[in-house]
């Protein structure tokens, strides 16, 4: 018995010891929850390949921006890009690391949610409380063959500040001037109607448990939980189904080269097959890093992810950043990251 205890103590000391030795080889980052599934997969593969670990805290985009501004982490992550002026003010650069789609999930009694068609204007009116029943004329007009039930609509949204909120409200503000004027876009907005739930899981649960509910989540999440994703009308007037193909179609419009500070939101993009709510998740780093060694390790990880992470991302329904964009990022963005003495951190 005593031997056992001693053995446990010895092993735990060893484990602790090795953990603290590893700590030096850990990249720290915090921010968006949206890319967390793919970042954690990359981190596992990267640790197997190089022995360097990633400690990524998925605390939300707002929190990520806060932490990188306070320099408590090596990199921050945000689904809402920072404005070029804000970047300059805080000595930050940003670049897109991965792209994905936000999708409306519905729970309409007696109806296959994947067949329901909605357009941006209707979606905005639902979220403003102006359309409050599933058999409303506006919805019936979009779904003429459907026998819509007389059920109250309960819009569900994210209660905390989130990048998903930003993408969704940015889209609604683009397609509905009413929404833009009354609610506006942002990571945290005051919704005139509906229920706020915590995180993607909360929104999904609330929609699943509420007959007549509608919500929005990251596609990877809807897909993995078999939630019913409604079809949306895109800019070209086509009704499109959410999925990696329609996300890719929207992402192909992204003109990163001409985006000042890489500020680009991919909602309401042209193209017959484009999904209307697509966004990139951004990485934020300082241009005057205090710990060049840590910064270099982080950049090595992102470099590795651009080169080797595409399959894992696609499997999780994320859209990888195209190669020409990633080489542009290496050249034009990473070159701005310097140590306090002015030395370039990324040298390759």
């Amino acid at each position: 018995m005593l031997k056992n205890v001693a053995a446990t103590l010895v092993t735990s000391t060893l484990v602790l010891g090795s953990a603290s030795a590893m700590a030096a080889d850990t990249i720290t980052g915090a921010g968006a929850t949206f890319p967390y599934p793919v970042y954690s997969q990359w981190a596992d593969a990267y640790q197997d390949a190089t022995g360097v670990g990633l400690n990524y805290q998925a605390i939300g985009s707002g929190g990520g921006i806060k932490q990188i501004t306070a320099r408590t982490v090596t990199f921050g992550a945000s689904d809402a890009p920072m404005k070029p002026s804000e970047l300059k003010e805080n000595n930050l650069v940003q670049w897109p690391q991965i792209m994905g789609g936000v999708v409306p999930v519905v729970n309409v009694p007696g109806i296959d949610g994947t067949k329901i068609k909605l357009d941006g204007e209707t979606l905005a009116k639902i979220y403003m409380g102006e359309i409050s029943n599933w058999n409303d004329d506006a919805i019936a007009k979009l779904n003429p063959d459907m026998d819509l039930p007389d059920t109250q609509i309960t819009p569900v949204y994210r209660a905390e500040g989130s990048g998903t909120n930003f993408l969704f409200t940015h889209y609604l503000a683009q397609v509905s001037s009413d929404f833009a004027n009354n609610v506006g876009e942002g990571k945290s907005v005051a919704w005139p109607a509906g229920v706020g739930a915590k995180a993607n899981a909360g929104v999904a649960n609330q929609v699943a448990g509420t007959p007549g509910g509608i919500g929005y989540v990251e596609y990877a999440y809807a897909h993995q939980n078999n939630l019913k994703v409604a079809q949306l009308e895109n800019k070209s007037g086509n009704f499109v189904t959410a999925g990696i193909e329609s996300f890719k179609a929207a992402a192909s419009n992204a003109d990163w080269k001409n985006a000042d500070g890489l500020y680009l939101v991919l909602t309401d993009q042209p193209g017959g097959q484009s999904w209307p709510i697509v966004g990139a998740s951004f990485i934020l780093m300082h241009t005057d890093v205090q710990n060049p060694q840590a910064a270099k390790q982080a950049l090595k990880f992102f470099d590795w992810a651009y080169k080797n992470g595409n399959d894992a991302a696609t499997k999780l329904d994320y859209v990888p950043i195209p190669d020409n964009v990633s080489s542009m990022i290496r050249q034009d963005v990473w070159s701005q990251i310097k140590s306090q003495s002015g030395e370039q951190v990324w040298t390759k």
């Binding site: 939300g60 942002g186 509906g194 915590k198 448990g209 509420t210």
Partner: protein
């Protein structure tokens, strides 16, 4: 007590040996030290309270001075537009607590009356302990129960009133369940302060249990009863986790009782982790509001409890 002893030992030795005298002196020193230390601890609490309140006021000042009275009249809490109105949160806090009190008071009084007047002696202890245990259940448990059991139940049985199951009324119900054991425990304790003789005399005159409770026991412990209710109210006002789960988190002012809304504590819990600038300041000002409301409520409770103590027969 202490003073009279120390006064006596200063003046006369009463034939004590020098060793005994020095022991008395040492004890007096120790006693003084003890008194000062404990007084220091007590003052520390006051200091802490004052500092917390002051830091809230200082950090909330930018928002309060920016919005002025609009902080209390604006109908929404829209961080993206920099429009911060405390009205939806204050309304939600008061309505949920009001519902909770309206439900909890009669039920708690009923339980307490049963426990003190009617309960068979064998059941009294187990039931009383259960009530006290219930009062100790962590609020997150009530929150999970609310979101997993109560909200779906309301949603499936009253879909027209509770289309989503959540809302101000649901939060009020959860709060009622949370404060019932709290109020019950206090009510039972103050009812037990009524001497058996008074009670038995009333029964001897031919009073029914209800008459004894209403006309003899309640009047003599009125202050304590109100104090217990207000302590329950204080808990309901500040409850965060359980409320956040079921209140609906709608940041728009809706003059509704069953609809979606928010409370001060829930709003802070949702937004504080990633707020900065004006939003952070506005949230801190909101925290100050909650502090002030709770402070007033608890102060009233203290006064009433004190009054009861003075009146309670020794």
């Amino acid at each position: 007590m202490t003073q009279s002893t120390s006064g006596a030992s200063e003046d006369v030795t009463l034939g004590a040996t020098p060793t005994e005298q020095s022991a008395v002196k040492r004890n007096r020193r120790l006693d003084g030290l003890f008194e000062h230390t404990t007084r220091g601890f007590a003052l520390l609490v006051l200091l802490l309270l004052g500092t917390i309140m002051m830091s809230l006021a200082i950090s909330g000042w930018p928002a309060l001075s920016e919005f002025g009275w609009h902080f209390f009249t604006e109908d929404r809490w829209a961080a993206n537009l920099d429009r911060f109105g405390a009205l939806p949160a204050i309304y939600g806090t008061l309505v949920t607590s009001g519902i909770a009190i309206a439900i909890a008071v009669p039920v708690s009084m009923g339980i307490a009356i049963f426990l003190t007047e009617k309960c068979p002696a064998a059941l009294r202890r187990p039931l009383g302990t259960t009530v006290e245990l219930l009062a100790g259940v962590p609020s997150i448990i009530y929150g999970m129960w609310g979101v997993e059991v109560l909200a779906p139940f309301l949603q499936s049985h009253f879909p027209t009133i509770f289309p989503a199951g959540t809302g101000l009324a649901t939060a009020g119900l959860i709060l009622a369940v949370m404060i019932i054991p709290f109020i019950t425990a206090i009510t039972r304790d103050v009812m037990l302060t009524v001497p058996p003789m008074v009670r038995e005399s009333a029964y001897g005159l031919g009073c029914t249990t209800w008459e004894v409770t209403r006309s003899v026991i309640f009047p003599s412990v009125k202050g304590g009863l109100v104090g217990g209710v207000i302590l329950g109210l204080g808990r309901a006002l500040g409850e965060t986790m359980a409320v956040t789960f079921v209140i609906g988190n709608n940041l728009f002012f809706n003059p509704t009782v069953t609809g979606q809304g928010t409370s001060i504590a829930a709003l802070i819990a949702n937004q504080f982790p990633e707020a900065d600038g004006l939003q952070r300041s506005a949230l801190l000002a909101l925290g100050l509001m909650l502090f002030v409301i709770t402070f007033i409520v608890l102060a009233i409770a203290r006064v009433m409890l004190n009054r009861m103590d003075r009146r309670a027969p020794k």
